[in-house]
Subunit: 126 residues, 4 copies
DNA sequence: GTGGTCTAGACCACA
DNA sequence: GTGGTCTAGACCACG
């Protein structure tokens, strides 16, 4: 099940993003074990070193902890999910607002822009 | 007036963003001449090679054209501004929605998130 | 009574440190029997293999001896405690002085640093 | 000028320690450029990837910043040296006190231990 | 089995 | 030239 990576963002960060998404979506829960480095490497079709780097990164960010000889686990803290979601949500909004502001847009125009996006897509509420 | 560039985005693209902002905000109009590569390089405190690359990039995107021996000019097309703004706006919104969707958020939650951002900031209109 | 181990130091050495502490503090005396590997493993909440390794290590260091079929005992030598304490103390001081010297600090500054540490902690004598 | 690394601590962290020492001792000042990754790798007799990791680590710790295409520089902040020294000094003292306390030693005994160390070494004030 | 480190050598974008 | 990423393959300590 090899995957592909397109963005210019480093693969090890793209993998981190996927893991974050899985956690936020509830596909992985607090306390769960992540696949081993080697296993994940095979799944993703990348080198184990790349996954190693991913795991080191998300551990540094405090989302995950490694238990020696046992593996890498999502921190067993029930608040980790909402905390992570809020953090990522905030980051996205701030980036979005900052960029739109540079285009000379007002708050109302930003909100309206997002609303219109969904209207034009019709009932595409996935 | 040396500036500083911190983002991980390449400097030459950050410079392009600034130029786009200036155009969209009306500080530069269609048909206007951009500063020479060397002049801009001094203003920005970066290497002329970097500005060269910026100009090549925004020319490639069709925003600007080079007249030999005269310099680089914003295309003398009255619609260029709104066209540029619309394109960038659309890009921002699509990226934003895509990212937020990955966090498992609904359309309503996205809109609400942006609105709340401005409420919490209060009269912080910069 | 499961415990937790955070330090980057190997768990089997952390367990050894605890045993050394117990001996030096007099909680265990020369000639005393240590808990069995399995018992200790349960107490510490770690794998028996890990304790096995701990016992091998402290035996190798001459603090403990294994009597076949009977268990692991602290050597029945009255001088073992002060000897162990002196050795560990010396190791700590040498490491400390070496590290501080690398920071360009003088002997006086080292002594003063330790003294000040306790002053600032005030009556925080645990 | 190949060097050797003995400690069980990873090489990339030992290199970091050396750089920190150089900064604290004033051999490198704020704003100075560090040797390039490749150059340092040759000096230290290790693989460039290892140095890369060192540089990434000390950048993450805020001691150093990289200017794209130019190199890695000690942050141009006059307070960086004393700040770094204080941080490392504090770390050393806390570790030392913690370890000595585990040996059942009192504050006075710790101070005395360090003082005696220097006395026995005689006028060995390097 | 697990994660962590290291080497070798390659390729890339950036300035 | 610089730092950053990635692969391939190896070795290690730990549990």
């Amino acid at each position: 099940m090899t995957e592909e990576f397109h963005s210019s963002k480093p693969i090890y960060l793209q993998v981190a993003d996927r893991i974050y998404s899985s956690i936020v979506r509830g596909e992985i829960s607090h306390g769960d074990k992540l696949p081993s480095v080697r296993e994940m490497a095979v799944n993703m079709g990348v080198n184990p070193n790349t996954i190693q780097r991913t795991y080191a990164e998300i551990e540094r960010e405090g989302i995950v902890e490694t238990k020696r000889g046992q593996g890498t686990f999502v921190k067993d803290d029930p608040g980790i999910v909402s905390s992570l979601q809020n953090r990522m949500k905030k980051e996205q909004i701030e980036a979005f607002v900052g960029n739109m502001r540079e285009l000379g847009l007002t708050a109302d125009e930003m909100v309206e822009g997002v609303q219109r996006y969904f209207m034009e897509k019709g009932g595409h509420a996935e």
